[in-house]
Amino acid sequence: MPGQENRSVFTSERIGLLIALAILSFVPLYIKDRAIVELIILANIYAVYVASWDILCGYTGQVNFGHALFVGGGAYAAGLLNFYFKVPPWLTIFIGGGVAALFGLIIGTPCLRLRGPYFALATFAAAAVPYGLTDVYWEITGGLDGLYGISPIWPTLTGKYYFSLLLTVLCCGMVYAGGRSNKGLILKSIREDEIGAMASGINTTRYKLVAFVVSGFFAGVAGAFYSHNQLHVGPETLSVNLSVLVMIMSVVGGIGTITGPICGAYLLTIFNEMLREWEELRLLIYTATVVLMLIFVPKGIVPALSEGILRLTGKRKGG
């Protein structure tokens, strides 16, 4: 029965999440290589980037090509406040989230009048403008070099790691819970058919705008954390490359599932690092792998795994 299928996938998903969390909790205790711990911290941050992208794009179907606007907005808000006004990191992280949420509201309001490629282009352009502004106002932002000397979030690597994990669990957990709540169901209905959702009495514009703001907030929080993690804030946090990377991670993991993009974030961050051994071929191998995955696992890793589990447990026959 399909209802059993859903429960089975849901249970498997939760078990998978708990195992992943357990493994991540032990990373700094058993891995002494500083570079690997730093890498997992980066993956934790990317996990929040992609989860926040997915709640807007995967759930409502509004493909945001400018997610870096939220990440960079949070990163610069935190970086500038800390650098110039010595605002403590625990506060700048929240302010970073707030600033990015405000960006979500400001950009979302006009952008949501647009559809399809026009919406995508508008979000793309919205992120490109602040990227350029960082260079225009280089005396404040540090220009293309950015600002160095941002305060660390925690003095020790282990402390920083657990802080990043806590932040990831909180942010991704809230996005995950939201996605599986009735509000998440409404967002999915908008993705499926906005006219149908309106005919069901749903104020689709309001929900999409809320998704924009929520997406912005969590991306901003992660972006702010990133600047304190790197002790630096620079225009790479606003770059198109970052927006595209977030989308690739999400698609590879399985958009519209929250867990899929998170899975994609960890896998691709680690995979990219592993390829450093073949630096000259890194981009080629990385791109080829992503393209092959898109061809052979178009729904993404997590949905494919879910279907595999259903087949193995005999709850779905055939295709």
Partner: protein
């Protein structure tokens, strides 16, 4: 009997084309009205105007004494008008139950609920004969069931006025004969209903009054018997020289 809906000289232009021209009619509380007309007569445009999916070029739409012109579709739903679509619009990747839960979460659906959204959605699925299929994804449901699901979704918004756009389209005789009593039951329960339908025999068994549109204009408004003798209606369907409406 109290008038629930009043349409006054409703007009809609698409560029130079007039899809609906000065259409006026009123609907009483609890009445079931049929709307017929050949393809392109403006029937679905009329529904789109009534439900806010299109803005009228002129005229008034008064629902329970309040103008609906300029309101968003979801606001109109929350005022008590729900619709189904000629071509069904299910949320394909959601289950039957989830499809109906969405409507239960609308402002009106939630406000009138004295139980949880899921529980309420179950009730509506059951009422349209879809119990046992609540966990199936909408994309896996057959066409007849999708028509019922569409009806359940509309009902879950707790409407006072129900607009059914070709509920029998694509259905076989057996499916129609099981859906017709359901629509009759809704009418008996006090819903005001407007039905657009091309299957005239089935429609005439349901309604006591029919409005006929042709090239966007209302050409007749009366009982099925009156319409069957109306020359304009016969001509609209059969062309000049058409003799009997019963042959349609």
């Amino acid at each position: 009997m109290e008038t629930i809906l009043e349409v006054v000289e409703l007009t809609k232009y698409f560029g130079g084309l007039c899809a609906v021209r000065n259409v006026s009619f009123a609907l009483n509380q609890g009445e079931m009205l049929g709307v017929i007309g050949p393809n392109g007569a403006g029937k679905t445009t009329l529904f789109n105007l009534l439900t806010g999916f299109l803005k009228p070029s002129g005229g008034k739409i008064i629902f329970k004494g309040e103008s609906l012109v300029g309101l968003k579709p979801y606001t109109i739903v929350n005022k008590g008008i729900a619709r189904t679509f000629q071509i069904v619009r299910p949320f394909h990747q959601l289950t039957g139950l989830e499809n109906v839960v969405i409507s239960c979460l609308s402002q009106r659906g939630a406000a009138q609920a004295n139980q949880g959204a899921e529980e309420k959605a179950w009730k509506f699925l059951e009422s349209v004969g879809l119990s046992g299929k609540e966990s199936m994804l909408a994309k896996d449901l057959p066409h007849g069931d999708l028509k019922r699901l569409e009806l359940a979704r509309a009902l879950a918004t707790e409407p006072e006025l129900l607009l059914l756009d070709e509920p029998f389209a694509g259905l076989g005789l057996k499916e129609i004969s099981s859906l017709s009593p359901l629509i009759q039951k809704l009418s008996r329960e006090g819903h005001s209903i407007i039905i657009i339908e091309h299957k005239l025999r089935e429609l005439m068994k349901l309604v006591k009054r029919v409005v006929t549109l042709h090239f966007g204009e209302k050409i007749a408004d009366g009982t099925p018997e009156e319409l069957s003798r109306n020359e304009k209606v016969v001509e609209a369907y059969l062309g000049k020289g058409g003799r009997t409406f019963a042959t349609i």
